[in-house]
């Protein structure tokens, strides 16, 4: 049965103020049941307060064969990191 169902990627917001994070995928016949399946499979232990599901086929992904031109140019640009500032202790989630 599940082999005939499309795949959906699941994203969970673990608490207010944080972003949704990819946690895995489920099979489901439609969006409504995809949300229910995501709830049943991925939030059994209070993992989150909000769920997104999106058809896996709707995700546009970068081509692994293009890793070089895509990502390597950033390697040598250390000055782009904000490592030259002191971040106050009270500022979290940075």
């Amino acid at each position: 049965m599940s082999r005939d169902w499309p795949l959906w990627e699941v994203f969970i917001r673990s608490k207010g103020g944080l972003s949704h994070k990819h946690v895995g995928s489920v099979h489901a016949p439609d969006s409504e049941l995809a949300l229910r399946h995501a709830r049943d499979v991925y939030t059994r232990r209070q993992e989150g307060i909000s769920l997104w599901v999106v058809r896996s086929s709707d995700i546009v992904a970068s081509d692994p064969a293009q890793d070089g031109p895509m990502f390597e140019p950033a390697e040598s640009k250390v000055y782009r990191h904000p490592t030259f500032y002191d971040i106050p202790d009270v500022v979290t989630h940075i």
């Binding site: 599940s2 489901a28 049941l33």
Partner: protein, 262 residues
């Protein structure tokens, strides 16, 4: 009926309350055990988890209700004792929950009918004058609302699906209709408790139940047949043969190894 309990001794009221908690607990326990039979057999991993979650929610409710039944009864029986060391005639669940799973469609038909009733029952039970029952109902109603919604989703998708899934959904409901009436039966025990605001008058839940069932079945393109002659007796311990087999599986281990722990 108001005079009934106010003129009775506290012992009679305790017996009624214990019996009521037993009915609530046994409904959840037996359906929870039934749903556990799907574990590893559901049509998909996701559905396997959905159904197992339902079962675990129900068994959680059973522990609480049976705990109250044992406390009020005051014979030293806790929830485990009541679940695993009672014989079939002493069970007080309605007949619907002990029905065999059949195929997935029948399991969802049974779940939709039972959970829809349970949502209405627990909603009302949150106003019980017995604080313990009200508290369990408040916690459990969120669980069973989800059960009712997910079961309705499946009824609609299978009913309004292929020719085969539609046919299986019709057959699934046909198995269950005769057990619906019993879920709303009121007897002396429950009427007396209801008059004190402890129990819910199940008759008041019926119109809402019928309306919801009709809505979902219409959306599922399923027929809403006239109810067949009702089968009842679970509240008095008159069960179908199916319950004995279920109990044999459920009770085997604690009865064979009474001191087993895990």
């Amino acid at each position: 009926m108001t005079a009934l309990l106010s003129s009775t001794a506290p012992g009679t009221r305790d017996a009624a309350l214990s019996d009521y908690a037993l009915r609530l607990g046994d409904d959840s326990l037996i359906l929870g055990q039934r749903l556990g039979e799907w574990c590893g057999h559901a049509p998909a991993l996701e559905v396997d988890l959905s159904v197992a979650n339902f079962g675990l929610d129900l068994i959680g409710q059973a522990i609480l209700f049976l705990g109250i039944a044992g406390t009020v009864e005051d014979k030293g029986r806790d929830a485990d004792r009541l679940a695993f060391h009672r014989d079939v005639l002493a069970f007080r669940n309605c007949l619907l929950v002990e029905q065999p799973n059949g195929d997935f469609a029948r399991t969802m038909a049974r779940q939709f009918l039972f959970s829809t009733m349970q949502v209405a029952l627990f909603d009302a039970l949150t106003h019980s004058t017995d604080a313990r029952l009200a508290e369990i109902a408040a916690k459990a109603v969120k669980e069973v609302r989800y059960h009712a919604e997910l079961a309705a989703d499946w009824v609609i998708r299978l009913g309004d699906g292929t020719e085969e899934s539609h046919g299986r959904m019709v057959d699934g409901f046909d198995w269950c209709w005769r057990f619906v009436e019993e879920m709303f039966d009121m007897d002396e025990t429950e009427l007396a408790l209801a008059s004190e605001g402890i129990a819910v008058d199940r008759a008041t839940l019926r119109a809402g139940f019928d309306a919801r069932v009709e809505d979902v079945l219409r959306e599922a393109t399923l027929p809403v047949p006239a109810y067949p002659r009702a089968v009842r007796g679970g509240r008095r311990g008159h069960h179908s043969e199916h319950l004995g087999h279920l109990l044999a599986t459920m009770q085997f281990l604690p009865r064979t190894y009474p001191d087993a722990v895990w």
